[in-house]
Symmetry: C2
């Protein structure tokens, strides 16, 4: 079992994803919010790259809910933004089409993998347990921030990698493990993306996203239909 | 003065390079070998992205020397490969067109910066001194390995960043500084790219490239002509 990691999704263009599980991580906030939505009872999440795609899908099926952000704020006309705190039992039994700047984009860029799962700090231990049981090569995919590096996503990836035993670990995954070892959870809210969210008054979101290992669930994308549900 | 860093050159597409000094680092081996060539008396180095461009340039000016590699080996028809040990006084007064998989590619991708310099472990302290004196925002650009992360290039970038005082440091540059702090120079030859070179019998190259701070020189690319010379 090999563990690899890309620092930004653009690096995926240089990776052979065949035979691998891609683990997309967007702590602030898509993969955290998607977990909240599914735990609140949503029937499934479908990710798209562009806002227009989400709007077109709803034109075909008006029962779909739309979620997502541009510049961290809810897209006009969407039902939800990207805050995990928005997803209450309103979403029970509903299917959600989701579009964000970083996370949903990373999911679409990892499509060549055999399997895609979504992880976050809340589900970090659960993701590690899932990967240990699957025993397949995996590539950790921090979603990043507007194409650039994200410290909290990389920390989460390194934390997951540190739970996996007896693996061959790439230089990039070892680097993430070093970050997870030497920096604390508290450092993550002081990092660039955390500061942006705090500046927008989203302290409750940040606190929710940083609750390490508070969920037993992992999200898995169905390779055929593309719909994401709890594994 | 701000210090930023891209983990792979593909991340440069998401950066605003205007007003910045880009510091391209390709420890194994382009920026190390280019330093060796200029210290051996070469009149200048011109980087190109494709082998064909180098051949076309020589067709126009037969006095040009050609250097570079594909899959770490000398390009057929070129005068030199990419080993720093090849560049003796044969190159004195000569201009060299250079094409490699990682380093020269990163230089061309950083072209939007106000100024491009090339650094390596041998010139790390000299590069830090140059940047301190210039007092401009800078972006460290590890050249990577076939589009992927390179540990030795990132280590070198982190080492340089650690010499710069009183700067605002991005999350990515802080990550590189953490790597340079917690890992030793010796770890770099055990990393992926070092192992490839050792497997090809290039132990002398690896040792030469890892000689930290053994040169007082920095390479600077002329923003108008594109020719690289000692600063």
């Amino acid at each position: 079992m090999q563990i690899d990691l890309t620092f930004t999704p653009a690096e995926l263009a240089y990776c052979d994803l065949r035979g691998k599980i891609a683990v997309v991580i967007d702590v602030f906030r898509f993969t955290t919010a998607a977990l909240a939505a599914l735990e609140a009872g949503a029937a499934g999440i479908y990710v798209v790259k562009e806002v227009e795609e989400a709007i077109e899908l709803r034109a075909k099926d008006p029962r779909l809910l739309l979620a997502g952000e541009r510049r961290a704020l809810k897209v006009p006309g969407f039902d939800f933004g990207n805050s995990p705190l928005e997803f209450t039992n309103r979403v029970q039994g509903r299917r959600i089409v989701w579009c964000t700047t970083n996370g949903t984009n990373a999911v679409t860029m990892a499509a060549a993998a055999d399997e895609v799962i979504l992880a976050s700090l809340r589900s970090a231990a659960a993701a590690a347990e899932y990967l240990s049981a699957r025993k397949k090569d995996c590539i950790l995919v921090p979603a990043g921030l507007r194409g650039r590096y994200s410290l909290e996503d990389t920390w989460c990836a390194g934390y997951i990698a540190r739970q996996l035993e007896g693996c061959a670990v790439s230089d990039s995954a070892q680097t993430a493990m070093c970050i997870a070892e030497h920096w604390s959870l508290r450092d993550l809210s002081a990092a660039q993306h955390g500061q942006v969210l705090l500046g927008l008054g989203m302290a409750a979101d940040v606190e929710y996203c940083l609750a390490l290992n508070s969920s037993p669930n992992v999200i898995r994308q169905d390779p055929l239909s593309g719909w994401c549900t709890l594994a």
